[in-house]
């Protein structure tokens, strides 16, 4: 009996483990290496042959990261920009998505098609005029300037439309007959019913905006407006010779997201799946 089970294990699982385990190790190792390097004092980072674990682990690199540059400020900037953008994206995507899903009109279909077409257009292709616009508004190097391009997300509109389409028409018809305004239908019926997809979209949008690089790079002028991405990119170009310090900077930048991931694993992966489902 046992041998039979073991043979099954070998065939079904064993082979898979043989392939997947080394791959998984390769995928995780760089992150672990980043963490380990950040805990080493400078002299240990340049040892050859390199040692895996620090001989005298230290937190001074982390202390220096926050002392030398305002990484906490960078984090708060990213938080503010991503947070506000996410809320805006949720609002705009769902209100537009509802209109496209439940209000029948040829004109609306055309508008929807135009929205979707912008998904394919990379932001980098048209960011120059947006930059000039923000400049004219005097919003260079400011939060409104950082947030402006991210108050809408074409994919979000598409996603919410697909989701809302699944809500039975009868419910909505009934509400309309009862005399509810479209606003009320939207606010009190559609939104609560879309809780799951909304949080999925929130996660998706938040991660997207948090990681965006090109726009904050050209918009920010003063150090106190940097987001974590820009802050780290410039930090490492200046303090390149202090390898432990730079690794600590990378850790500090990546850690919040990693921690959130560990806590909300299931939700985040579900969010990704949901967005993928609607995409196909």
């Amino acid at each position: 009996m046992r041998t039979h089970g073991f043979r099954r294990f070998l065939i079904e699982d064993g082979l898979r483990h043989l392939i997947l385990a080394p791959l998984a190790f390769l995928l995780v190792f760089p992150i672990a290496w980043m963490l380990l390097t950040s805990l080493k004092p400078s002299a240990e980072t340049i040892l050859w042959p390199p040692r895996m674990f620090p001989m005298h682990p230290t937190l001074e690199n982390f202390r220096d990261v926050f002392l030398r540059w305002p990484f906490l400020r960078f984090f708060l900037n990213s938080l503010l920009v991503s947070g506000v953008s996410t809320v805006a994206i949720l609002l705009t995507s769902s209100s537009a998505g509802y209109a496209f899903a439940k209000i029948k009109s040829r004109a609306l279909s055309v508008i929807f098609f135009i929205f979707i077409a912008t998904i394919i257009v990379p932001f980098e292709s048209y960011m120059i005029p947006v930059y000039l616009l923000v400049n004219r508004l005097g919003w260079l190097d400011s939060y409104p300037g950082l947030i402006l391009p991210f108050i809408i997300m074409a994919f979000g509109v598409f996603f919410m439309r697909q989701t809302i389409q699944a809500i039975p028409d009868e419910l909505i018809q009934a509400a309309r007959i009862d005399g509810c305004s479209e606003f009320a239908i939207f606010w009190r019926m559609i939104l609560p019913l879309s809780g799951g997809p909304l949080s999925a979209l929130a996660i998706y949008a938040f991660l997207n905006v948090w990681g965006f690089f090109t726009w904050p790079l050209i918009i920010t002028m003063s150090q106190e407006m940097y987001t974590t991405e820009i802050g780290l990119a410039l930090f490492q170009s200046q303090f390149f010779i202090e390898y432990g310090l730079v690794a600590a900077g990378a850790t500090v930048t990546a850690l919040p997201l990693l921690l959130v991931f560990f806590v909300f694993q299931r939700r985040i992966i579900t969010a990704v799946t949901l967005t993928g489902l609607k995409g196909t």
Partner: protein
Amino acid sequence: MKKPRWFGTILGIALLTALLAIPATCLAGQPIKLTLWSGYPEMKPYFEAAAKYYNELHPNISIEVSTFPLRDVEQKYAVSLPTKSGPDIGEMQSYIAQIHIENGGLLPDPPEVNTFLKSGVFHPLFLSDSTWQGKIYGVPVLYSLDSLLYNTQMFKEAGLSAPPKNWDEMLSMAKKLTKYDAQGNVTRSGLGLRLFGAGSGVSAKWWYFLKSAGGELYEECAPGAKKYRAGYDNEAGRETLKMYIDALYKLKVHDPKLKQDAEGFANQQAAMFVRESWLVGYMKKNAPNVEYNVAPLPAFKKTNTLLFWTNVYVTSSSKYPKEAWDFIMFMANGPKLKELEQIQYDTVGWMPPRNDVQKRHPGIYTQVPQYKYFAEVPSNYTLYPYPRLYVTDEALTKLAERLVTAYQDKSLLDNPTGIAKVIHDAAEESNQILKENKLYCGK
């Protein structure tokens, strides 16, 4: 799923507050905040100390200092000064400043600053190179000559008693100083050459050697003509490139895989290299145990070196030019001059530009001998500045890309035709840039 709703309200309020905060600060009124940008992060302690001292004298004026990587600050000037959204004070090199001077992004100096500048405390080159159409722009804030740094420990081990005076000595000493491993790869470079990284830096470093060979990036076609052409499509240009190729592939005194430039010297992976005095501050901080000294740039057909300096300018974006000039004069000639210069000597590495520093810091070149040949050179040396055309940056950057590719091309070894072609194509591009900007002379 109530989360989206009140969460949204709170963040909506946050957005509103942020939007309101902008006009609010504009209405602030009495307290004046000046912004200062610099592309030289090592100067931050200097500017911040100056801001602090100034604030003690003028409590209602505060100065916010922002430093950026050099490429980035040049880009920021480029987008912000034309649209009057730049800082009050900007520090930059003369050729970066040139386009902004011509476009009105930078203000000319007021009369009292001019009087100070002409009082003789600065090298004449600072003034002549800061003058445009009869007006002087900016006030020097730091300077250094470009000189050769060499690791004295490594020199002693190799039995070399003095640093090289010319290219022949430089290359033969480099050969003696290079270390190899069993497979013949370079493990310690005898002469650190800048082979890549950070845009125009590569071509700037090549250009010093070009100047020693008698060439020039852009030469004026006739004195005062204000039209130029590339000045390196000649023997000087070819010999300079040949020097690099020989160093890499014939003598094998350097390898791109080694850490290069300052990082290499500090990690003791290079025995010699050419740079400016900020290395003094850098080595003190990052590699205090490395024993090194400084010598004048090795000569070739010409005996010369670069006089590098930056000015601080008041921009036309500034709403408080009077206060900005006052702050600049405070840094250049104020009551805390000695303390500020001390910061430059102790921490920054870039040296104070006035030629009367020894009055306030006697014996500085004995205390820190490495500063000596960054500050002065033997009398037979000529000093030159960067070409002051506003296309210099684009030309140097594009030339850098070509040089980086050329340095990696082993086929250029003992290949005069190949080298000539590379130089010629690069010069064509440099001329093309002039043509696009209507600065090219003749055909």
